[in-house]
């Protein structure tokens, strides 16, 4: 029997992996998701059969209640609420793992006892951390990172969490059979709660993609460890896969924000804002090289501009004399006139678009420009929004074709050659200061090269620095920048009626 069970579980794990690999392409992703769900369903049925617990009547109402709540939430939730929904579900999974751990603390072997306690600890970290994250995303809790004033208080809490967790887990290793496990379970839960709280409460809005990815990873690990506690291979395997995926996404997000995971976990403030006091030779050389690089960039832009002037001149020369110019053209260029003339437009969405729920207007604008013969693409920064891939989902909701969505690396060289860029509620991800402003939080973060575009239309709510608190030099650029401030929904509407 166990052999059969192991074979089946391995098959199911392979099915899950297959489902995930199908999720790497849009066309097959739906099938992939269904395949993973099917694997899970078969796994549940197999568990019921192999353990001979079909007759355990308490299971059925519980499944039905959970399934009902889950399906209802899945159907009701709006796309804009996706980050907090994912965080919430994630927390529930972690909580369930903690409870499974709690059920198995009286296991026969030390391995079972220790893994059960670990499952409680990691499960509660996930539960509490996710609930705090979801609360922040849903704006029940303050979005700003909460850093306790006294570093001492913070360290005391951290050490307390560490102590509780370690004691809970190490204790049964030493006195396995004699200790009363209730106390250990309690300590593990308290330690986990403290860790989860400390971890999430000080994370600000822009670091949310990293937090959610990491919590996702933790929920997988919690499941896997709970699986170890009860000796369930399928649970261990799938938990491992989920853990790996969350970790991978975390890595990707960290790289995109130029932050190290430890700096987020330990809440070390990012590079302090102290200017370099003694410029050493090294620093001088670096600065010269940076300036050198900047000059090269500017040269490339000028070259590009010269080429455009050339093409425009020849185009105008070869044109028959216009009968009458529209008044706006005489008055000078406006955002609308720029867009009217543009043949190659790149749209840069950010969290502001999500806040204003302006994705439909963005799509309308794009369609309008396309009808005028322009090529429209979307440049998606990996950390734009509050969760990995946030912008893609919102734009997909507004019927934007996913083939028009480009990742940063794929489109960054095209900003210099496009006609116009429309920025919607994005700031930090395109702040050119990230390249030069040493000592600021965003220094070194890869950004979209919006500043290289000849014409930039910025539809942001205001000119305040973004989450990172660094002024965007683009706002004060003299030429080729049009600021359309206010609620993106309205400004886009105005822009569209101006284009006509």
């Amino acid at each position: 029997m166990p052999t059969l069970q192991i074979i089946l579980n391995t098959l199911l794990a392979v099915m899950v992996l297959l489902g995930i690999s199908l999720m790497s392409r849009v066309k097959t992703a739906v099938a992939g998701n269904l395949l993973s769900a099917l694997a899970l369903f078969v796994g549940v049925v197999a568990t019921l059969l192999f353990n001979g617990i079909v007759s355990a009547w308490t299971l059925w109402p519980s499944i039905i209640v959970g399934a009902w709540i889950g399906s209802m939430m899945a159907r009701r939730v709006q796309m804009i609420q996706m980050p907090q929904t994912v965080a919430l579900f994630n927390g529930l999974g972690g909580g369930a793992s903690a409870l499974v751990g709690l059920l198995s603390i009286h296991g026969a072997t030390r391995f079972e006892q220790v893994t059960a306690l670990l499952a409680i600890a990691i499960g509660t970290v996930t539960l509490v951390g996710s609930l705090v994250a979801a609360g922040k995303l849903h704006r029940i809790l303050n979005q700003r990172p909460v850093v306790y004033h006294s570093a001492l208080f913070h360290s005391v809490l951290t050490y307390a969490a560490l102590f509780f967790t370690l004691w809970a887990v190490v204790d049964p290793i030493r006195y396995g059979d004699t200790t009363d496990m209730t106390l250990n379970a309690l300590a593990a839960a308290v330690g986990g709660t403290l860790f989860g709280w400390l971890f999430s409460i000080r994370v600000g809005g822009a670091d949310m993609p990293i937090t959610i990815s990491l919590l996702n990873s933790l929920s997988g690990v919690a499941g896997a460890i709970a699986g170890m506690a009860i000796g369930d291979v399928f649970l261990v395997a799938v938990g491992g896969i989920v853990g790996a995926s969350g970790l991978l996404l975390t890595q990707i997000m960290c790289r995109a924000m130029n932050r190290s995971l430890t700096s987020i976990l330990l809440a070390t403030p990012k590079t302090p804002k102290t200017p370099p006091t003694l410029p050493t030779d090294q620093a001088l050389i670096k600065r010269v090289m940076d300036l050198e690089k900047r000059i090269q960039e500017l040269e490339a832009i000028v070259k590009n501009l010269e080429g455009r002037v050339q093409t425009l001149t020849t185009a105008i020369d070869s044109m028959p004399a216009p009968s009458a110019a529209t008044p706006q053209d005489v008055e000078g260029t406006t955002a609308a006139s720029v867009l009217r003339a543009a043949k190659d437009v790149i749209i840069v969405p950010g969290y502001g678009m999500a806040l204003a729920q302006a994705q439909h207007q963005v799509h309308q604008l794009a369609t309008m420009l396309e009808r005028r013969g322009a090529r429209v693409r979307y440049a998606i920064h990996p950390v734009a929004g509050r969760m990995p891939g946030h912008m893609n989902v919102l734009l997909a909701e507004a019927d934007v074709d996913y083939e028009q969505l480009y990742e940063m690396e794929a489109i960054n060289d095209d900003f210099a050659t496009c006609d116009a860029v429309v920025v919607i509620g994005a700031n930090d991800v395109l702040n050119p200061a990230a390249r030069h402003a040493e000592g600021t939080p965003i220094y070194g973060m890869p950004v979209l090269n919006v500043d290289q575009a000849p014409q930039v239309i910025i539809c942001n709510y205001d000119l305040k620095p973004g989450y990172a608190g660094v002024e965007n030099p683009l706002y004060s650029r003299q030429q080729g920048v049009f600021l359309e401030l206010g609620d993106a929904k309205e400004t886009l509407q105005q822009l569209m009626s101006a284009i006509g």
Partner: protein, 98 residues
């Protein structure tokens, strides 16, 4: 009981395999991927079911039944909600197909 070493090996292998496969997913699909993974983390329902069921049939008390049923409910919300949301998102990506 399955041996601890075997379980740890399974964990290690699935982590590595998962890592390699998930690396292929483009950032376009990261949100559905994440919510799909999130739904999968509800796999802990398997553990909740077996722990609760075995406990009931071997005469466990009402406390463990309460804990167990709560675990099943939470995990079921996670599974059904997670897969449902993922499915909805993926259908959005697909509806543009001409």
């Amino acid at each position: 009981m399955t041996s601890p070493l075997f379980l740890i090996a399974v964990f290690a292998v699935s982590t590595v395999l998962g890592y390699l496969i998930i690396r292929q997913v483009p950032s376009l699909l990261h949100t559905p991927l994440m919510s799909g993974m999130n739904a999968l983390s509800g796999v802990t329902i398997v553990g909740a079911l077996s722990a609760t069921g075995v406990s009931l049939l071997t005469g466990g008390g009402w406390l463990s039944q309460t804990i167990g049923c709560l675990a099943i409910i939470l995990a079921a919300v996670n599974v059904f909600g997670g897969f449902g949301v993922t499915h909805r998102m993926l259908m959005m990506f697909n509806k543009k197909k001409k």
